[in-house]
Assembly symmetry: none
Homo-oligomer: 507 residues x 2
């Protein structure tokens, strides 16, 4: 198709969508600043700013002009071929437009304001390990999310499906459940084998002194080496790490450092850099359009997890990096062998905090949250009962009981940010990442050697070509099939974990 | 007046103005970020974001609904009493609305385009110290500013008056001239006395090693001690220091540090903290309205200069702070007496660069620029002749001749940014600050002792009450009279400088 065939309605649609994206990106910067540099008393005004921008963005997302253009483009879309750039962009624009026009502006603004306040409540509640400070905010958010879901849900969908669809388009809760069931079984089996093993990783190694300025230096260098471009991005510290794309040429990573724990900072940075490299790998020409956007949260998470775990916690990676890290922290790592270090960073041990959980038990954290969220949405669980249910379920799955709410149901920012239906994408991301990495290994036979040499360019190019460049050409499940040749499955993940832990724990 | 008397049109006006202010404040954060943390490749997208927000803000500033409300409120305004909160807010809203709607869109767009080009030309010209690169741009800017001024100017005003009015509402060029003439005479006389003095400040002291991390620590502590509230603000580094109010509860100071020059960082922070304390002292209830806004650029500058110079370069201040600074930099300041240090930071010496000039000669830089601007606007001076006239006038006033255009007429960004009529506010700020400080000394008899004890709360409260709380209730000259009981005059400034330098230089 030549450009002369493109109808004027398409060009105008692009103009409108770009403007919406630019406006939305102003909110991204305000949000980033809120989590990094905003002074304590700036919260109320920030809430007003974000509410106004959200309202203006919503106005643009629902302008009748866009609806008219999408109507005009219907025929053209059908003739263009469903995987063509133009059809993908129009289809996604229609999906977004339908979704946005369904939600009343009043609801959107109320949600934005509630979220900004809820986040501050959540920070206070977590600080004091007191769920009651946050309870009322959570109730409001659940009420608003139920209202949102009941408007959005399509024939045959549950309230939960309607929310999940926003983060993982095309995925249903029951499909997730069908993957989670065998995954849980496999994870619990591996966990038992590890518990039965006599191998005891020396995790104390990682809790020695790791001055944070050097952690920052190391993490920044590692992120640059695996391929994150600091001309087009930066790295800052925050309470709850995230990656935020501000716009083409501007992607912000955040992390947090603990002087007496190596993993948080280092693997957190690899994780966020994986997200950032996805954003930096998107097609700038398609900015603001589906073909220039990431597929889903699960696919996004697959990129962060692939770099954090399949690369960053692999033996070849540490063949290359360990001497460097040891040189930076001689007082803590002299006399510690590569093998001891590698075993320690892959320690499996039930623990309270999701973001600090090992690769294996992490999945159980997600499944717990997935079950609770579904019950909250379905009205089968009250906000007030969350701490109790959390703790008992947690004990059942992981065999340990959180000592307080900060270690339990208050640990994550998501609910306070109005993100429900979001958690399962983390475990979906685990499965996607395993399946993608397996495919990359098949297509780049010397991948382990490259990684052991500190060369990451080929893997990055492979991800650019197979995933990033494609934008939203395929929905997540279809993308997995196109890239790997197989349907999404929990098996590659369980296989990879089994092989790795079998080697480490000797089973 | 009770609130029940307030017409609905007023409430709606407030709503519209608040929304405009909030929208504008999003641009403030984006602008702050651009100067502090934005990655190098983020510039293009940032320009798109700012252009979009500027367009949306302009839309709100010129919406016919606002014009209609202001028409409706005319009678009410007249009955409310000209110094009443409501009348002040309506009058200022009308002034802004008229200004925004008077300028044809074509002129605004041409100006925007010309400024964007002119800034690039200016950067190149300054880099190569060659005015001819910038000349054509300056000609265009003058032409457009003349056009703008001829639209805006009111009966009996000169073109220059119309531009000055944007920065210093109500002030006329001839009033400024009437103050500048005796000020120049006094400054030149003092400068001669200083040149004739045998005292030679040991400025080398200030060029020793001052590690920047400790400068930051010291500056932050000093800003907090004089009264800048870090719960409602922060301090970062940038290339060209500024203070930016993001909104109630959020005010950002910036500075820059030089390892081998103490003054830039420390006095720069006091200066910006003075601006910041003005913003933090404004009435939050009146956010977005004239009663919650600063009076003028000159009054703003008076607040920064009062803290930087009248407090920060005073002997009592250093009685308190010097032991602390000496303790932080023993390797540079051991053996340096308080007297030597105090004399060094008050060194007077003609120099080329305005922003690096001392308190005394600074005024001459401003007067020179003021004279040139007036002639350019009046068509009595051609852009092409600026370098020659600059250099000869500079030599006449300061006794030294710039070696090139970068040290001369190209040093400041203002003209390339379309800012004409702005410079005099810097010297007005000097006079305001002297007159305000004198009044504060009269009303707080032990002010020197308080400062020498590191106690700044009373002075801050005095400024809050007399200046900040009042918003735009009075125009600058009237405010001076209300606060000090006297008409604005150059005398308090000349007296203060004469006393200080007489003591230091022994005349």
């Amino acid at each position: 198709m030549t450009t002369t065939n493109i109808p004027p309605a398409y060009d105008r649609m692009v103009e409108l969508l770009r403007e919406k994206a630019v406006l939305n990106s102003c909110g991204s910067l305000l949000g980033w600043d809120e989590q990094t540099y905003m002074p304590p008393a700036g919260g109320e005004h920030r809430a007003n700013q974000l509410a106004l921008l959200a309202g203006l963005t919503h106005e643009r997302a629902t302008t009748p002009e866009l609806g008219g253009l999408l109507g005009e483009l219907k025929e053209f879309e059908e003739s263009a071929g469903s995987e063509s750039v133009l059809a993908v962009n129009i289809r996604a624009a229609r999906r977004d437009y339908d979704r946005a026009t369904q939600l009343p502006r009043k609801l959107v603004e109320e949600m934005t304001r509630e979220i900004s306040l809820a986040q501050q409540k959540w920070v206070a509640a977590r600080k004091q390990a007191d769920f009651s400070i946050f309870q009322k905010s959570l109730e409001s958010i659940i009420r608003l999310k139920r209202e949102e879901a009941s408007i959005l849900k399509k024939e045959g969908e549950t309230l939960y499906d309607a929310l999940l669809d926003e983060y993982e388009p095309g995925m249903r809760a029951e499909q997730v459940q069908a993957l989670f069931d065998p995954l849980r079984e496999g994870v619990i089996k591996l966990l038992q084998q590890i518990k039965d093993s006599s191998v005891e990783p020396k995790t104390e190694i990682l809790k020695r002194s790791y001055p944070t300025d050097r952690q920052h230096e190391l993490g920044q260098a590692a992120a640059a080496q695996i391929g994150f471009d600091f001309e087009r991005g930066r790295l800052d510290t925050t309470a709850h790490p995230f990656c935020s794309e501000i716009g083409p040429g501007d992607c912000r990573l955040t992390t947090r450092y603990f002087e007496n724990f190596f993993n948080s900072g280092f693997f957190g940075i690899l994780h966020e850099a994986g997200h950032g490299m996805y954003e930096q790998g998107l097609n700038v020409e398609q900015y603001g359009l589906a073909m220039g956007l990431s597929v889903s949260l699960g696919i996004h998470e697959s990129q962060s997890l692939l770099w954090e775990n399949f690369v960053g916690r692999s033996r070849p990676f540490w063949n290359h990096f360990y001497p460097k890290v040891q040189g930076m922290y001689p007082e803590s790592l002299n006399g510690v062998s590569l093998d001891e270090f590698y075993t320690a960073i892959n320690d499996v041990r039930p623990s309270y905090i999701r973001v600090e959980a090992d690769e294996l038990t992490y999945n159980l954290h997600i499944m717990l949250r997935f079950e609770l969220e579904q019950k909250l949405l379905a009205g089968e669980l009250e906000a007030a009962d969350v701490p109790e249910v959390w703790n008992s379920r947690f004990t059942e799955y992981l065999g340990v009981t959180p000592e307080n709410d900060a270690q339990g149901c208050l640990q994550d920012i998501h609910w306070s940010a109005g993100l429900m239906g979001y958690f399962p994408t983390y475990a979906l991301g685990k499965m996607y990442s395993a399946q993608f990495f397996k495919a990359a290994q098949n297509e780049i036979p010397d991948l382990s050697d490259l990684i052991a040499n500190g060369e990451f360019g080929e893997l990055k190019s492979w991800l650019n070509k197979n995933i990033h460049d494609r934008g939203q050409q395929y929905q997540a499940r279809d993308l997995v099939k196109v890239v790997t040749g197989n349907e999404l499955s929990e098996k590659p993940l369980l296989e990879a974990l089994g092989t790795k832990y079998g080697e480490i724990y000797g089973f």
